[in-house]
Assembly symmetry: C4
Homo-oligomer: 209 residues x 4
């Protein structure tokens, strides 16, 4: 704890409310990027809009993954402080920005000219969201803002997913400089990996069998 500045302990309640607001609005605004893609018959136009659907799903899942990590973080939070609130605001600034690269990627997958640039901008935004979520968690841990009862095992296992995630995004971004479509496929795979709880599903299925 601080020894010189009197730390003002803040209730995490409104930080959660504001964050839930930004997460849910950013996720819901993504739909505004989806539009039919003329020319063609109505059916063709609906089908040809698939890059917009894919971009919607990837971005929605990435925001979901960040929200899940954020919830896990604030659930353990005993108190909040000035810097934590600011790091959180930086995270929200990037989350609220995500609809823009999502539009780019939706366009980039059909107009191949901009594909490479757009895939890189998108990947960097996704990576930044994960890095800021990690910074938030690290700061809370370092400043001992978490409740005491928390088992260290849980914290360890949560952190263990970060390094492969960051490596995954870096590899995807580099591949995207050569084959942008593969990068987008990797972003999708990473989002699915982060959100779908394979361990729990396997467990549920085997228990039933």
């Amino acid at each position: 704890m601080s020894d010189r500045i009197p730390r003002r302990p803040l209730s995490p309640a409104r930080m959660e409310a504001f964050s839930d607001g930004v997460f849910s609005i950013a996720a819901t605004l993504l739909v505004l990027d989806i539009a039919l893609r003329p020319p063609g018959s109505p059916m063709e136009q609906v089908v040809r809009a698939w890059p917009a659907y894919l971009a919607y799903v990837i971005s929605f899942l990435t925001i979901s993954a960040a929200w899940i990590a954020h919830t896990a973080m604030t659930d353990r939070l005993a108190l909040s402080d000035t810097l934590l609130v600011r790091i959180n605001l930086m995270l929200l600034l990037v989350v609220a920005f995500l609809p823009f690269p999502t539009t780019l990627i939706a366009e980039g997958l059909s107009d191949t000219s901009g594909e490479r640039v757009f895939a890189t901008v998108y990947g960097l935004t996704l990576l930044t969201i994960h890095l800021l979520a990690y910074a938030l968690d690290s700061y809370a841990r370092h400043e001992r803002l978490y409740t005491d009862g928390q088992t260290d095992d849980q914290l360890q296992s949560d952190r263990r997913t970060l390094v492969p995630t960051v490596i995954g995004y870096l590899v995807a971004i580099l591949i995207g400089l050569v084959v942008p479509a593969v990068a987008v496929a990797l972003y999708f795979a990473l989002a699915v990996l982060l959100v779908v709880p394979f361990r729990e599903i396997r467990h549920l299925v085997f228990r039933r069998a």
Copy 2:
């Protein structure tokens, strides 16, 4: 309960906050699809936008019905777990997508060329919302996440409405392949049936009489 994986019980509070955010934003974004329909006098343009009003009302009522079911579900929830949060996120992904098929149907009802495709896409989205709301409830029941005091009668009666709802949507979608306008009328009727509490209204009126 799980016998191998230590289940982390999650507080349902933030799941509710995030869900309320997505439900209310998706419902409010629907208005952005409404626009005057030139050419014609101002009065004609206002009147000729009726497919947009109808689509707005159907989608708003469907989101309302999903929100009512969701509220009834989380009100009974004693705790939440990893998979429940994910199923909920899938539900929200489809709810947040609804403004797009709503635009399609608003256009489809005036431009008859795409009517059939748009009515089908719209119906499938509405059906998916109901199926995912059912999956959420089934999982919570199966994993015994509900509070104990809950009477089984109530649960039974809630579930009883699902099968006719799903059949209703399937019938409407099939009819829509032939006569799209009838499908839209049926989606409207189903939404009204799900939201308007006819039993309570009859009771209220008869008690007064």
Copy 3:
């Protein structure tokens, strides 16, 4: 209370959360209707957009007034029931619709051709919001959903503002059929009257003097 149907008492908490979501989003979406009005110098374009600013302020104040009435209502609520939730959803459906007539009025004040139609549509929407807010309050009172400690004086004084409000809107709508600009001025005056607490301000000023 009901004598035949077992009434399921609902917690008003999520009804409040969903309502606050719709109220705040509808109020914030209003800004999307504001745009510069070419041609002309930048200064002229900013100034000539005044109908959009005025429409923004009127709609924001009307939503604020509805939100204030809604808060006063739910603050007194001891419990909620099936019908109350539905009446509330109807109110939210109209509140979430308000951005559309707001666009119309912003356009109507500059293009005089549609003025009359747009002022009427706008006025009817504002009136419906007030009527549904009243219906909500009446139902809660009739079904004795309010907490007992509530003084009847307070309830009486709240209800006393409704009749003049409804008369005011009806008069404004009728005048708008002849002189639309006057109707808009009256909508503005009514919104200001409903939101600005003249009694409290006078009291504050006189106490200071």
Copy 4:
């Protein structure tokens, strides 16, 4: 306290919920102003959109600063009253308006013709947000709505930042009448100064060293 009008003490909970809604939506809607700036290669279009990114960051940080001040205010609030709710609604009206001047500034920085007008409108909006946040705090203090335990030192230090902030914005607006780009740079600097907790960061760094 009032001696003639029976003051109705309001719970600050829903005022916070509505405010968090407007703050988070206004912040998230800012992204809708960002778009590629043709003509040019995709890379050039992404880079040439920099005024939109800058405007996004300044507005997001200004809303963040207002939200931080608002949270600090409501955290200390023991109760709320009629006038406080109204002053708060005026603040939210201007916060929800911010996306419009943000669009202007993003355009103004590339089209130099309107630069001066747009920088002034933007600056005045930012200044008004700070003044209304100050009015809110002053009223709460004057009417003794804060909890008693609050140390006066804290309150003093919070208020001490306002006068330099207002002077800063006034200077920036005046400079903007001559060199608009400098005004925008100053708005950025002021937003950073208000959000970044330099004292805490220096403390954190020195403690670690």
